[in-house]
Amino acid sequence: MGRLFQLLLKNGGFVTLIFVELFCFIIIVKYNTSQAVIWANTSEIFGGRLMERRQKVTDYFGLQERADSLARVLDSLQARLANARVMQFPLRDTFFSISFDTIYGVDTIRRKSIRPEYDFVSGKVVENSITNANNWLLINRGRTDQVAPHMAVVSPQGVVGIIRHVSDHFSIAMSVLHSQTRITASLNKVGAFGSLVWQGGDPSVMTLKDISKHFQDRIKPGDLVSTSGYSVMFPKDHPVGTVISAPSPDPGNPHFLVVQVKLSQDMSNVSDISIVRNLYTPEIDSLKSRIKQ
C-alpha cells in the first residue's frame, strides 16, 4: 500500500493528467456539438462491433437451446401437417381462411372431421446399428415423455423405425433395417402400395413387396415412395425414399411385384428424430380386439 502511494506520488503529474483529461473528455463530448457527434458515431462503430462479437459468443452457447426449440417447432409443424392430411373435405373451402386450431376449439360440428390425430415428440438417437441382420436404435425419450411401444419413429427426411421397448427415460426402437419390419408404403404417382421390408445387405436400400401386378409398366425409377396412411403408426405421406429399379416379379410370390427403394434417410447418420404418437391408439386397439375374438 505504501509502495503504491509512493508510486502515485512520484507519477502524480501523470495521474493527475489522466484524471483531468478524462474529465475534459466528458465535458467536451457533453457540451460541444461537433465533438459529441463525432464521439457518438465512433462509439457506435466500435460499440457495434463489440456487441456483434458478444452476440456471436452468446449465440454459440445458445445453439443447443436453439436447436431444441427448432426441434419443438418442427414437431408442431409435423403434427399440423400430418393432421392436415387426415382432415376431411368439409373444411376444404375454408382451409386457407380459418386456422385449424381455432376451429378445433369452438366448432363442434366440424371438429369431428378435423380432429388432430397425431402428436410428435422430438428426441435424439443415442445408439444406432446398421451392420446386423436385426438393427436397433436407442432413443433418449421414454415413458415419462409419453412414449409407448408401437409408436413410429420418423426423421424429417424419412422413416426410421418403430418403438418396441420403453423404460422411464429411454426407448428402444426396431430400426427399419430389421428383418421383421413391415411398413405400408405407397408409390404416390401411380397409387400403388405395398409393404416395405429389409432383406439385409445394403443399409440404404429396402424392398417394397406385394405390389399388384398391373402396375408393372407404370412404375419408373425415380418415383417417390411415402407412407400410405393405412397404418395406425405412420402418418400419411411421410417421405420414405425413391424407386431405384424397374419392378420385377416377386420370386416367392409371382402374382406380385417387388421394387428396390433407396431410403431418403441415411440410416448410418440418423440423429434428430420424432416419435409419432397416435392419439387414438387405445381406442383403435380396443376396436380391433373385437374382430380377434
Binding site: G13, T16, V20, S34, I38
Partner: protein, 173 residues
Amino acid sequence: MNSIVIPNLWRFVGMVLLQGLLLKQMGQAVHTTHFNVLLYPLFILFLPIQTAAPYLVLLGFAVGISVDIFYQTPGVHASAGAFSGFTRAFVFAAFSPKGGFSTKEPIFSPANVSWQTYLYGASAFFFLHLFWYFSVDAFTFVFFGSIMLKTIIAWFISMIFVVLYAALFNPKI
C-alpha cells in the same frame, strides 16, 4: 510566498482576459479557420520552474477552462492546458542549462534564461500545446492534414505574440 503567487495571479487574469476579449476577436475578424492566436499557454510556461507536476496540470486546466468560457467550447482549451502543464517538464528538461535550473531562475523567461533558450523552449511548448488543442478541437485524426496546417499557422502567429509579450513585460518572477 506572496511574491510568487501575486504576479502569477495577475498573469492568470491578464492572459485569460487578453485571450478571451482581444485575441479571440482578432481570430474571428479574419475570415478563415486557420487564423488563430493562443497566448494564454504563456501563463503555464511562466509558472515557477519548481512547481510540482500535479499543480501544473491543475493550473493548466484552470486557465484552459477559463478561456473556454469565452470561446464557449467547454473542455477543449482545458484539455490542452492540462496537457501543456504536464509536458512543460519535458520541454524544460530538453532546454535546461547544464546541471538544471537553480533558484536563481525562478521562471522560464528571457530575463532569467537566455533569449535563445526561451525561444527554443517556448517554440516546442507552444507547438505541443497547439497540436493538442487542434486535435481535440477536430476530435478525430481523419483531418490530420488540416490539424497540422492549423497548428503550424497558429504557431507562427502565436510566437510573434510570445516574443512581443516577453519583450514588453520582461517578467522576472
